[in-house]
Amino acid sequence: MLDLRLYILQRVTALIMAPLVLGHIAVMIVAVRGGLSAEEILSRTQGSLLWAGFYGTFVLAASVHAAIGLRVVVFEYAKLKGLALSLFTWAVFLALLFMGTRAVFAVTAP
């Protein structure tokens, strides 16, 4: 159900995300001071290649990681297998990648 390839993908995306999560939490702790506003968020991120790269990588890694993680959960508890399980994994990956990319574009596009 989890073969070598999926195992490697799961661990590699986890390693990529570890520093990104710490960065994201640090940003949140700073950003949340004095409340949140769309203007404040956009002034920091709009037109920034750095933030686009940071959160673009994050979205890609999180989409892969969440898809594989949910695959295991759905297999173990819902007994989904075979083609249905593969379709589920791909659907989760593509949905998160699409929604995440749209969000990153919305906050970083110039």
Binding site: L15, A18, H24, R33, G35, L36, A38, V73, L96, R102
Partner: protein, 113 residues
């Protein structure tokens, strides 16, 4: 089901990792959806962000930061278990992961309050 054979700390560490992982995966689409208003409809994003002033939403955010932290630190413990020389102190490491996540989420909460 907490059957007798599961009453050992590292099984609870697994439960925490699984529950936090599923919760984060369910939160992500909502998070992305709300942020996607930033460019075209910033007023709608602000509408959502005003919710974050509410105490109960702040508490939920604290919970999310904790889940994110505990999933990351707990995951690092698992990768260290798999890839570094074996250490018998896994229970200590699991407890430390939860403590570190709690510390981070409290820091976040105190800044948000």
């Amino acid at each position: 089901m907490i059957w007798p054979h599961r009453s050992q700390p590292l099984w609870y560490a697994f439960v925490l990792h699984r529950v936090s992982g599923v919760a984060l995966a369910l939160f992500l689409p909502v998070h992305f959806y709300v942020l996607s208003f930033a460019l075209r409809q910033p007023e709608r994003l602000d509408g959502f962000l005003r919710w974050t002033d509410l105490g109960i939403v702040k508490a939920a955010e604290f919970g999310l930061v904790f889940l994110l932290g505990v999933h990351m630190f707990g995951g690092l413990r698992l990768m260290a278990l798999e890839w570094l020389p074996w250490s018998p102190r896994q229970k200590t490491f699991a407890a430390s992961a939860a403590a570190a996540a709690f510390l981070i989420s409290v820091t976040f909460f105190l800044n948000a309050a």
